[in-house]
């Protein structure tokens, strides 16, 4: 199957409207304000994205209150959220939606479409083969219903979730965020635009969603979707870093000339642009592969993470360095992107995790 790697006209329109909205509501000063506040995210912005515009439920079918779009459209929104370093639990919710779609969980999808936050209780650094998944024990209450015991460290997008989906004992469970025995502890995180939290469960009552192969394949589709969607966010983040650095170098004068006229800097930005062009191709390929159910989706996801994770970090590092003194200050947005890029580089598996996955998928066995 030939996948179309271009943006559709609708996707370009979607991008324009999301970008305009974020320009109005998620300027970097606002992002910094939220990051510095005790709030885990920007609740106003989330309301705008979910209840008011329905962007948070793009991939939810229309009869469940969503927009009936595909992951390829969700990925476009994530490019823009990455570009703004927006502090909203969009990625985690989109990944949870993928899992719920896989399971056909209508009620939770409806809740999600209504602006609810459903979080997948995975460590942020879960690998493509489920690396770093903790053991959560399942026991049985007197009435036969399941109870969960265990801890999951470093979960993203979960602090304001209304429902948590927890993998335990090879099955998937839904846990109400207000359930007794469930505790969420905010973690002071490198990336305060997407802070992590630790989850602890002591006999937390849960509802079984799926077990066995059905649970495994749903979790797997969520991990693939996470890697793919994050790659688009990383693309957007890297594009902001390049654009902002170019603008700075055009207008900053030293030695009587624009700093951007120095070849040492121009060449580095040209190289970054070359990488970015490729990042767009791999991100679009991965999004299209998942959206079309292409058998290459898993490979595309790992390719996208192996490429875009390190690229976003590099773009942010170059952004800080080429801004010089101002780039290292709290009052310039570069540090927000630097932290988000580094945090994202371990999310849904590091580049080495994904290269290892590719070794298996591309028949390149280890030594």
């Amino acid at each position: 199957m030939t996948l179309d790697l271009r943006y559709t006209e609708e996707q370009e329109q979607l991008r324009d409207s999301v970008r305009a909205m974020l320009a109005d509501h998620a300027g970097w000063a606002r992002v910094l304000e939220v990051a510095e506040s005790p709030e885990p995210d920007d609740a106003d912005l989330w309301r705008l994205l979910s209840v008011e515009t329905g962007l948070a439920a793009l991939a939810v079918p229309e009869h469940l209150g969503g927009a009936g779009a595909t992951l390829a459209e969700t990925a476009v929104v994530l490019e823009e959220l990455g570009r703004a370093a927006a502090p909203v639990p969009y990625l985690g919710t989109a990944v949870a939606a993928q899992l719920l779609l896989h399971l056909g969980e209508s009620d939770l999808l409806r809740e999600l479409a209504g602006g609810g936050i459903v979080a997948l209780a995975l460590p942020f650094d879960v690998g493509p083969a489920g690396q770093r998944l903790p053991d959560v024990e399942v026991s049985t209450a007197a009435d036969g219903s399941p109870l969960l015991n265990g801890t999951i460290s470093g979960v993203a997008d979960a602090l304001r979730a209304t429902v948590l989906i927890v993998p335990a004992g090879g099955a998937l469970f839904a846990v109400d965020a207000e359930a007794p025995g469930l505790r969420r502890t905010a973690v002071v995180s490198l990336d305060e635009t997407r802070p992590l939290c630790d989850l602890a469960m002591w006999n937390a009552p849960a509802r079984l969603l799926a077990a066995g192969d059905r649970a495994a394949s749903a979790l797997d589709s969520a991990l693939v979707a996470g890697a793919v969607l994050l790659a688009s966010e990383q693309l957007g983040l890297a594009q902001w870093c390049l654009d902002t650095t170019v603008e700075h170098l055009r207008t900053r004068y030293q030695f009587g000339r624009p700093v951007g006229s120095f070849q040492a800097l121009k060449h580095r930005l040209a190289d970054l642009w070359v990488e970015l062009v490729q990042a767009r191709a791999v991100a679009r390929y991965a999004a299209a592969a998942v959206a079309q159910g292409d058998p290459d989706a898993r490979l595309a996801a790992s390719l996208a993470q192996a490429h875009n994770g390190p690229l976003a970090v590099r773009a942010a590092e170059e952004c800080v360095q080429m801004h010089g003194g101002i780039g290292f200050t709290w009052e310039h947005p570069a540090h927000l992107y630097l932290k988000r890029a580094k945090s994202a580089s371990v999310a849904y598996g590091t580049a080495p995790h994904h290269r290892a996955a590719l070794a298996a998928l591309a028949d390149l066995a280890p030594a």
């Binding site: 179309d4 790697l5 271009r6 390049l242 170019v246 170098l249 055009r250 000339r257 624009p258 951007g260 006229s261 120095f262 070849q263 121009k266 060449h267 930005l269 040209a270 190289d271 642009w273 070359v274 062009v277 490729q278 990042a279 767009r280 191709a281 791999v282 679009r284 390929y285 390719l303 192996a306 490429h307 080495p352 290269r355 290892a356 590719l358 070794a359 591309a362 028949d363 390149l364 066995a365 280890p366 030594a367």
Partner: protein
Amino acid sequence: MAAPFRAGRPALILHSQCIKFAAKGTEVGASVAEPVTAESLRERVDGFLAGHDPAGDRLEFLRARFDAGLAWVHYPVGLGGLGAPRVLQPVVDQRFAAAGAPDNSPRRIGIGLGMAAPTILRHGTAAQRERFLRPLWTAEEVWCQLFSEPGAGSDLAGVATRAVRDGDGWLVDGQKVWTSMAHQARWGILLARTDPAAPKHAGLTYFLCDMHAPGVEVRPLRQATGEAEFNEVFLSGVRLGDELRLGAVGEGWAVARTTLMNERVAIGGAALPREGGMIGVLARTWRRRPELRSPALHDEVLRLWVRAEALRLTGIRLRQQLAAGEPGPEGSAMKLAFAALTQQISGTEVELLGAEGLRHDHWRADRPEELDLIGRGPTYRWLRAKGNSIEGGTSEVLRSIVAERVLGLPAEPRQDTGVAWKDLPR
């Protein structure tokens, strides 16, 4: 699957000093009255094939195809085309190929097709178009490019080859270098200096050089690979008629820019399959030879595989954009990334093979007719790849062009504008 060493083709055809911005192509001139569609083109080809035997005389067939407007469909009627959208060309090529029709050896005449033809079409007189385009397309006349000189590589506008008025024509003296196909070429596109007292860009004139004229001497130029893929061309008192001047006197740089902008990332060809390029050679060696593996090399192979696949997908996306009439500047990224990647893949292959990878097939000074970047052994691949970041514009020059034209960064301050060429230090 094709044999390992024949499987891939270079993703790029690169022979100039200019970066390739996804060329829009040359869509000028007349078009046929009715809009040309893919379907109507197929019918035209089928009609043509009904009257011309693909198994008959090759040259007659190609000439007739040109005259029927089925050579390059985006060219004007009467010059081998139908004034049709360029994106429809594959429809025609595939139909002819499926019928077993002879092709015009496109790889042998790449410079003619990709560079000389669009320049002649854009800047040539009616007589020049009439005279040159048909035998160019049918491959009766091979073209070469007489641009680079020993003293003017990255700085092409600094060429020193002189063309001096001589009655009703011109006398040309100078030396050109890195000239692919010069030993087979009937014609060359020539950039020469006609006014040394003008600033360097202003004193140039563009000519079509008769490679059979007295005073043209072609010498093989041997490269680090041992073969002589390129040539040096010495021009000593070569007399060219004024009818061989392309564009006005002093307008050579503007004409040359057309040539350089049309040097195209080989977007016309089919996209390579996964592992279709040099990475496939390395991956197959890795699979076949477990005893060579180490953990560090494993990660290196995977990193290269990721980059190769990313670049391949970038090429696919670029082709899709071009086919949809949305050209972007991504082609220039392809060239930069391709050069770095082939150098590293081939270097890793030699390392993986160890001493075995040091065995070279031969150092004969072959004269290859077609460029095949992966056709020989690992040492050849490694050596030939060194040229990838030099030919067609060095990677350093390309980075500056990307920075200035794509990113919009300010130009480097320069000392060579507004000064007579003859007064520049060299």
